[in-house]
Symmetry: D2
């Protein structure tokens, strides 16, 4: 199945991924992980909610932690260009017979809530409260020095379908893995904001959230985080890496939060603003697609993820990856 | 004079800065500088012309070096989103009574040539020959490991006018320096592609090209370049830096090519895709705007630049910077 | 079995490890690995021999590659303080009834050849030809930018015996792993020159050479090497890492040369010149001793090594490591 | 005047520089600088004294800050190999008719206090209280992540005399600057512990302490410190750098503490344990000896220093450096 033709003039204009709400079972433990260890900044905090931003972000939040009885991922948030784009979005999703509702979200202008065809909960807004810049308040930098949210990665039970749908929304494929035997997509990376991805899809029991990624300045910040986690009780939360991805060429580390939500620390991918940028194709059997240096990913990385609130994941028709660390 | 209201829906869609042609007086010396020292890749080469690209670029060229009797800067090249945008651009510049012509440029689709109101020569195209990716051919990386062209910076005799014009083209101001006494702009950074700038304007005898900048992976690559230049006969070509800019927060180095064209090596600014991103204002009297760490720039940095072909620079009405290294 | 009391006044004064000769089966392939990939500098070269030094070394060679029918490690070379120390060394080894002979080695003053009690071939010299400094010839730096040979690591069939013997030679233990059940040493790191080690011993079929290590400037140079090896046909030569050792606190990478000789790339351990420096003890069951970040080493790393010329390795009485990656 | 022949068998064995006491006029301000900004660890603290160590040090202190009416430098501390070496040191200084006294220093074994021929106050001890390692307690790392004290640098009114005296103590010259016109030493770097220097001497009004240096992991830590100081009120305390020294090849930054005591942040010099290491000679007129990249040092760097308690500095007979930034 070939990649869809890029849709350069989508029905409404999504600027970038923006934020996600994560339901967590012990807010204090999550705070220790996201604030004291990763170094995200608290922008608001109540008994059951913590709002966080990264160092160069001026929007109010990129992660919302919610105390809950069960750990799960909630809405994936995206920023649209204008209020008119929100109305166009409503029209678009309604035409697809997908559920739409206008919801109130603290610190956001009116917010449109919907789901993608596989059931991933999505929310769109145009304006969020803007905060004063802190990117030059170097005394505040700590942990991995997270600069900004970079992307979402989701398990999809049918990556061809996911790509076709997000392509309609204007997400352009930058790299993809094809199952050479079936010709079907095994994974794809799609972007709006000019990096390798705002959202990626990986074959597997889905929809589930595979990970949320943060951009950091250099690989040395990732090494600093590893040293810190290894000596502050988080050695068991280190899942995979550090390494260089074949796909995206980024330097990466995967860690797990206290509830198992997976966070990627990520830097140094490339600029993708050209509308004629050619997607890069990888073979599912090539271990360097995962890690350029050759080390396969552990089984947990292929199998575990966060369920989305209100959506039952279903199996993919494709087989599991042939390359998994023993 | 306040900043103009950002023009979010410009008459035609510029994707990003793309390339510049530099007239040089000794092509072999320039090759030694740009290829052997900086590490740009040759994509084509004739007796009087060298085409260069950086490591993650797939377009054919970002720098064109032309043997010439005199050193000067020629057209600043920009990529537009579609062929239709080129036609809209023609209409726009004609309506402004600016000169337009369609020119043939090797490796580019039809190219529209014009000038901005101060006389800066500009060219716009939609498609350039695409080359195979080399960003993972690590054996080719050398010098400063340049990843991509990042921005142009031009002296302007009237920065308010320059900003007003480029704002019409959809360039959004990210940071600016104001002369507190007159309320006039002293410098401004404006972008299309989602970084701090595609083109910036600095008060001074203009129009002239102040510098062209390349993005590199980390500050350590800049230190490597300094060590290399200092021990291969280029110590006199190091002009300013390394340092952290207050404006843009980028880590920088300024060097001069054998003809005196100024090149900035640059990394780690921030993402600016939000249409409601607030411009950051700096005071002309604040030395940290130039270098966060306090060191003022040398006089040459304020005064010297490359003339543009076919344009006579004229003085600015504003006074010189009050902060110049002795 | 407790550590021996440090011998602060040994019979002769060893300055540091110096060099090793490696027998290789395809000199051209080895040259591509050590020179073109790692970046060592050729100081002399004949049909069957290549002499190499690292960037800050002024002695003539740290690695001697010899074309041979079989791959093996030959003499471990050490530099002594003075010619008198050589005579004292001869006396010492003779008194131990170990074999001694005076040999001619190109570029070295008279050289004393002997073996340690397990049969490791050793050579001692006081003066080697000195070459002009190249550490500021930055145009010569390439590959991993190796600065100097750092240490040898050997499999030992009886680490307690090895440590007792090298302690007599004045090597001071900086860190060690103890088998808690038997109280015996499982591994030990011992130094002369003021770093964590000049030579270390690890339990196993021995004597065999486990690895030779090179010091590099920063972890980023190791990442550069990984990127280079992964894209120039050496992905299969990457064995373990990158990571942070618990023991030594160094950042490391293990790679294999074309014959399987293991090379460690190493940086950022600590200064150990204090004669009262306390050895640090690690538990054999603690996986963080190997990799602070928790990942166990692969089986090959525990089992494979280079045999020494003229010495038959014999098994250790201790069991294998309880912590091996599956 | 030629360099003295290295004294390879000095009368007593100095292991390394160890510590210095700095008299400061506002202990709280000094604490903010050394602890909160640089990241040194407090090991003891009273109303008028703060003891500090760096991250990989296990000796109790490398800096002692003392509240005082006037800022000045006090004893330069050195660690000797054994208690016997202390007695030999007493004999040595007495024979030179230099003042000797045995003093009590908290956390140190018996301590010998004396002065060098120019009046620099020195103290020698063999054993200092040892503390538990913290180099793998990564949660404690902050500021510039100082790993260890690296060296002292002193103004000397007669560098030839200083070098001759410290050569007798076994300090070996690694690099030196000669005044080509007079053939006299303008500056010299001398070591005991195997790096480029434990103590260096620079021509000028002396004796005075020019600076104390700390070793840090990589140049990026120095950039981090600059960003931190520039945004926490210390921009005026940044004096020179960052840069690469020609002499020593180290990456450096010079900053001033609240009393003007100068601190160098330093990394990546080279190993100097070979007894036959050839000193490297630099010309006083070569600006790259100071900064490989060409920038001259500011006037303050040549002229300002901390007086030593109880010693009146006197002028040098040599002229000032011909290379000073305007």
């Amino acid at each position: 199945m070939p990649l869809p033709t890029p849709n350069l003039y989508p029905a409404f204009n999504i600027v970038r991924l923006s934020h996600v709400e994560l339901a967590v079972t012990d807010l204090a433990k999550s705070r220790a992980f996201y604030v004291d260890t990763l170094g995200l900044q608290v922008t608001d905090e109540t008994a059951d909610t913590i709002y966080l931003r990264a160092m160069e972000e001026r929007g109010h939040h990129c992660i919302v932690l919610k105390q809950s009885d069960r750990a799960e991922a909630r809405d994936l948030g995206f920023k649209v260009f204008s209020e008119d784009d929100l109305d166009r979005a409503e029209h678009f999703f309604k035409a697809k017979e997908l559920p739409v509702e206008w919801v109130e979200r603290p610190y956001q202008s009116r917010t449109l809530r919907t789901r993608d065809p596989h059931g991933i909960p999505l929310e769109f807004y145009s304006r969020m409260d803007r905060l004063a810049p802190i990117h030059q308040k170097y005394a505040l930098y700590k942990g991995v020095k997270p600069l900004r949210i970079d992307h979402f990665n989701c398990f999809s039970p049918d990556v061809d379908q996911s790509v076709a749908f997000y392509n309609e929304l204007g997400f352009r494929v930058t790299e993809f893995t094809e199952d050479a035997e079936t010709g079907r997509l095994w994974a794809a990376w799609t972007h709006r904001k000019g990096g390798v991805h705002d959202i990626a899809f990986t074959n597997g029991l889905g929809p589930r959230l595979h990970h949320v990624a943060f951009w950091v300045p250099t690989p040395l910040n990732i090494i600093d985080l590893l040293d810190l986690m290894a000596t502050t009780g988080y050695v068991g939360n280190i899942e995979r890496g550090p390494g260089r991805h074949g796909i995206s060429n980024a330097f990466f580390l995967y860690i797990r939060d206290p509830d198992g939500h997976r966070i990627e620390i990520y830097c140094s991918d490339y600029q993708t603003v050209d509308p004629d940028l050619e997607p890069i194709k990888w073979d599912l059997k090539d271990p360097q697609r995962q890690t350029l240096w050759g080390a396969p990913a552990p089984r947990s990385w292929f199998e575990e993820g966060s369920t989305f609130a209100g959506t039952e994941p279903r199996p993919s028709a494709l087989a599991a990856s042939p390359i998994i660390a023993p």
